[in-house]
C-alpha cells in the first residue's frame, strides 16, 4: 500500500537517477559492462519479486492457485499479447483454479 511519504521517497530516488544520468554523468566514464549491470538490475529485482509473489505467502514457501495464473500469464506473454490481456487471463486462471479447488 502506497502512502504520500513513500511516494515522495520513491520519487526522489527515481528522479535523482534520471537527473544524474541526463545532466551530471559523463557517459564516456561509464564502461559498457557496468552500464549493462545497471541496465539489468531491474530484471533481477522484478524476477525476484515475481517469484516471491508466486511461490510464497507471509514469508513461507507455498504453491497455490496463483501458480496457475502466472503459468497462464507466461503463455500470454510468450505469444506477445498486450499487458492488460496477460494480466486479465492470469487473474481469471487464478480465480478458476481457486474455485475448482
Amino acid at each position: 500500500m502506497l502512502t504520500w511519504g513513500v511516494v515522495f521517497a520513491i520519487a526522489l530516488g527515481v528522479y535523482g537517477q534520471r537527473a544524474l544520468g541526463m545532466a551530471v554523468v559523463d557517459p564516456d566514464r561509464l564502461t559498457d559492462r557496468w552500464r549493462s549491470v545497471l541496465g539489468f538490475m531491474p530484471l533481477a529485482i522484478l524476477s525476484a519479486v515475481a517469484a516471491l509473489q508466486t511461490f510464497s505467502r507471509g514469508g513461507e514457501l507455498t504453491a497455490d492457485a496463483r501458480v496457475f495464473g502466472v503459468g497462464a500469464a507466461i503463455v500470454c506473454a510468450s505469444r506477445r499479447m498486450p499487458m492488460f490481456v496477460t494480466v486479465l487471463v492470469g487473474a481469471a486462471a487464478t480465480a478458476a483454479a481457486r474455485a475448482l479447488a
Binding site: 502506497l2 502512502t3 513513500v6 511516494v7 520513491i10 520519487a11 530516488g13 527515481v14 528522479y15 537517477q17 534520471r18 537527473a19 544524474l20 544520468g21 541526463m22 545532466a23 551530471v24 559498457d32 559492462r33 552500464r35 549493462s36 545497471l38 539489468f40 538490475m41 531491474p42 530484471l43 533481477a44 529485482i45 522484478l46 524476477s47 525476484a48 519479486v49 515475481a50 516471491l52 509473489q53 511461490f55 510464497s56 505467502r57 513461507e60 514457501l61 492457485a65 496463483r66 495464473g69 502466472v70 497462464a72 500469464a73 500470454c76 506473454a77 510468450s78 498486450p82 499487458m83 492488460f84 494480466v87 487471463v89 487473474a91 486462471a93 487464478t94 480465480a95 483454479a97 474455485a99
Partner: protein
C-alpha cells in the same frame, strides 16, 4: 508531431495506447492492494514510473519493510539513469534544461529520440514524445482507480496474482539474450532460497546481485539487449 523527423503518427498512437492500458492495469493493481485513489494518481504523476511503485507495493505485500520497499523501487529505476546518460549529451548544452527534461525519461521517448541522426531532431522528438505520453499515462491512472474501486473480493477474482502476472508481462519481452535469462533465473533462485531464512524485503534486495552476471557477458551488450519497460 515534429516535422522532418523519423517519428510517425502510427508509432505515437501505438505508444499512447500502450501507456494508457498499462496505466489502467497498474492503477487497478495498486487499488486492490489498498492504496488510496488520490495517492495512486499522485504517484503516477510524481514518481512517473510504474515499475518503481509496483516493486515497492510487491515487496511490502510479501512482508518487507517500507525501507526495503523504497530501496527496491530505486533499484528497479537504475535503467532510467543509464538511458538518460545515453541521450543527455545530445540534448541542450545547458544542464538545467537537461535536468528538467530528465523527469520524463521513459523507455520509448528516449529510444525514439536516439534513433534521430540529427541532435536537434532528437531533442524535438524527445520533448514531443515526453509531453505526448503524459496524457494517456494520467488518464489511464484515473480510469484504473475508478475500475479498481468497483472490484469485489480480490481473492475470489484472482487479483492477488496481478502483481506476478504484471511482472511476467514486463519481464518476458526483456528475455532476449542468454545473459538476461541467466540473470532472471538467478534472481528467482536467490529470492526463493532466502524467503524463509531472512526477513521480508531482504530476498529481493539481495537478488539484485544477479545483475552482476552481466559482467561476465562474453560480448559487448548491444542496444537491442537493453531491457525495456515502464
Amino acid at each position: 508531431m515534429p516535422e522532418g523527423t523519423q517519428l510517425t503518427r502510427g508509432e505515437a498512437w501505438t505508444i499512447a495506447f500502450t501507456y494508457f492500458t498499462v496505466a489502467i492495469t497498474v492503477s487497478v493493481v495498486h487499488s486492490t492492494a489498498g492504496t488510496e485513489p488520490w495517492v495512486i494518481v499522485g504517484a503516477t504523476l510524481i514518481v512517473n514510473s510504474a515499475t518503481a511503485t509496483l516493486a515497492f507495493a510487491a515487496v511490502q505485500a510479501s512482508g518487507g519493510t517500507a525501507v526495503a520497499g523504497v530501496a527496491s523501487g530505486w533499484l528497479v529505476s537504475t535503467r532510467f539513469g543509464v538511458m538518460a546518460a545515453a541521450l543527455g549529451p545530445r540534448l541542450w548544452p545547458q544542464r538545467w534544461k537537461r535536468a528538467l527534461a530528465a523527469f520524463g525519461a521513459f523507455d520509448p521517448n528516449v529510444a525514439l529520440a536516439m534513433r534521430e541522426e540529427d541532435d536537434s531532431d532528437a531533442t524535438r522528438v524527445y520533448v514531443a514524445m515526453s509531453l505526448w505520453l503524459v496524457l494517456p499515462w494520467w488518464v489511464g491512472a484515473i480510469v484504473g482507480v475508478i475500475l479498481g474501486e468497483q472490484l469485489g473480493d480480490p481473492q475470489a477474482l484472482g487479483l492477488d496474482s496481478m502483481f506476478p502476472t504484471l511482472f511476467v508481462a514486463i519481464i518476458w519481452p526483456q528475455l532476449t539474450s542468454k545473459t538476461a535469462v541467466s540473470i532472471t533465473l538467478t534472481g528467482i533462485v536467490i529470492a526463493l532460497a532466502l524467503v524463509e531464512p531472512t526477513p521480508g524485503g531482504v530476498p529481493v534486495l539481495l537478488a539484485a546481485v544477479a545483475a552482476l552476471l552481466a559482467l561476465i557477458e562474453p560480448r559487448r551488450a548491444t542496444s537491442d539487449e537493453e531491457p525495456h519497460g515502464c
